[in-house]
């Protein structure tokens, strides 16, 4: 860990991909052209434009990517508006990595994995999905259930089509909220879709999405017979320091920035419902 946790490093944006009308994916490297730091899937980084703000974002690229880091960021506030308006070549500040990440080398190893994501919730899971795909022998089957408002709102759609769906042993199930022209896939909300697909109870679930989706999907999974110890999620709370000191992301005796952001639902059950 960087000794000066509150002093960031410099990064430069080398590529900006427009994912959806309100999500862009930014490719970031250090000024030396190399990765700024290594991370575990599910960890986060503090990105900032000095004078505009600093905020925590999931690192959406996989650690197996040796060249750069990527961040898929939804436009929803002052800093993200700024990030969306910037051009390639812009320097930003970056510090991290923060948080525990998904237990890809321990609890998830050898498991059949079910990823469930809604909207921008795919961002933190993409890191794990690509990590698992790149270390295929260490894991069982992979199923990805992903939904968004519309076809245009599916983050990483090109990567999903061209890489994930063509990958043998990866099952991808996409859904959008409402019928639309040019879409012949599934239509409906994620929680119902999960129930329809009736996934095997042996699977370990990694879930991320809007709170309402999480709530109903978890209930659906429980109905199907999944237990809370099988389901992981990653949380988002306001953070300032990223290292468990500023107090902002404190829930119960946990600090989401360092004890999380990845939690199993049985762990969340022991925390006050303040997230």
């Amino acid at each position: 860990m960087n000794e000066e946790t509150l002093i960031p490093k410099l990064g430069v944006v080398t590529d900006i991909r427009i994912d959806t009308p309100d999500v862009k994916t930014f490719r970031v490297v250090g000024l030396d052209g190399k990765k700024v730091f290594e991370h575990i899937p599910g960890q986060c980084a503090m990105l900032s434009i000095p004078g505009v703000g600093e905020a925590m974002f999931s690192i959406t690229s996989s650690p197996t990517n040796r060249e750069f880091m990527e961040f898929s960021i939804k436009k929803c506030g002052c800093l993200t508006d700024w990030l969306h308006a910037m051009d390639v070549g812009q320097q930003i500040t970056i510090r991290g990595p923060y948080g525990n990440g998904f237990p890809v080398e321990t609890d998830l190893k050898g498991k059949d994995l079910l990823f469930i994501a809604g909207g921008i919730g795919l961002a933190p899971l993409r890191s794990v999905i690509n990590y698992v795909r790149d270390n295929r022998a260490n894991y069982g089957s992979i199923q990805i259930i992903y939904g968004s408002r519309s076809k245009e709102d599916l983050v990483d759609y090109q990567e999903i089509l061209q890489e994930w769906m063509t990958d043998e042993g990866v099952e991808v199930n996409l859904t959008i909220d409402r019928e639309q022209e040019g879409w012949d896939g599934h239509v409906g909300f994620v929680p119902n879709f999960v129930k329809e697909l009736n996934p095997d109870l042996k699977k370990t679930v990694l879930m991320c999405g809007p709170p309402i989706m999480i709530k109903f999907t978890l209930a659906g999974l429980k109905e199907l017979g999944f237990s809370e110890t099988q389901v992981y999620t990653t949380m988002e709370l306001r953070m300032k320091c990223g290292v468990g000191k500023c107090g902002r992301c404190n829930i119960g005796s946990k600090y989401v920035c360092k004890d999380g952001p990845v939690f199993r639902f049985d762990q969340l059950d022991e925390l006050p419902n303040e997230y």
Binding site: M1, N2, E3, E4, T5, L6, I7, P8, K9, L10, P50, G51, V52, G53, E54, C76, G77, C78, T80, D87, G89, Q90, Q91, I92, T93, E236, L237, R238, K240, C241, V243, G244, K245, C246, G247, R248, C249, N250, I251, G252, S253, E270, P272, E274, Y275
Partner: protein, 342 residues
Amino acid sequence: MKKLPLSQMPALYAAMAQGGALYLPVDNAAGDAQFTRWQEGMELSRALNTVRSAKDFFFPQTENLVSFRMQGKTIEIIDPRTEGEDFVLFGVRACDARSFTILDKVFLADPVDSYYKSRREHGTVVTLACTRPEETCFCQSFGIDPADPEGDAACWLTEDALYITARTAKGEALLARLDGLLEDADPAPVEAQKAQTAAILAKLPLAQFTTRSFGGDVLMKAFDSPKWASLSEACLGCGTCTFVCPTCQCYDIRDFDTGHGIQRYRCWDSCMYSDFTKMAHGNPRTSQLERFRQRFMHKLVYFPANNDGEYGCVGCGRCLAKCPISMNIVKVAKALEGDVHE
């Protein structure tokens, strides 16, 4: 144990200030004690304690973390720090001395906060035993003995002399510097003072107050108590309790445009404030009840759960004295006690 006659106090202050700074409680324009940089002629306040706690010296209300110079698409990062100044903090009470131990558990835990650490390293804490505790004092509930305070060095003021003893290597070094002023002393007057103070402590209205029923294992019981509603109903949502508290350590990080560049500074923040947990897309604590609960749950339950049972309170009584609506940790703990016991 060493001592020096009270007439020699100015010389002692001058010696302590040599090679750095000396801060001690001095009466301000409002007549309240305030840690002030010593200058010749200043006298130690007779007040029991300062309005602002001593945490300011290690965790100041505002502090520049890093500066940036922006040009076009490029950013320059500048660490604004210069080598800190050695300082002596004199006249710290036992409660505030313990608060440093609590702050250490936050700021010196991995990853170490280098800003705080540097100040801790530069500071020598000289405590002063209490002889006239007030009704709002309850440090004894946390195993603190105000008559025998912690610190790098500890002092006792009697009618005619200041007694001083070193407790750490830093304290030894300070005493070595003061050696010409000090003479060996019989500790009997100090022991007598301790006994006298102990007798007063036993009679304090909050002498029997305890937070022992709280801790990590009662987390949900305490959290779910119906009492929070009435306890928090008059809370103004101000930051007085937080800012006078010696152990409250939450902070915000903000950017300030100086016109020549950006200063990123941190400043004290309060979980009592409505924007404390507010994000672009929502706020997990929308009511004052939730924010109020967070502050007390943190001190009584969450902090001990993570720190071997140590509470986030030292019983200094500042919040009892200063809350605009007179709601405080004592009232909260007493009200909740029944609920966590069931």
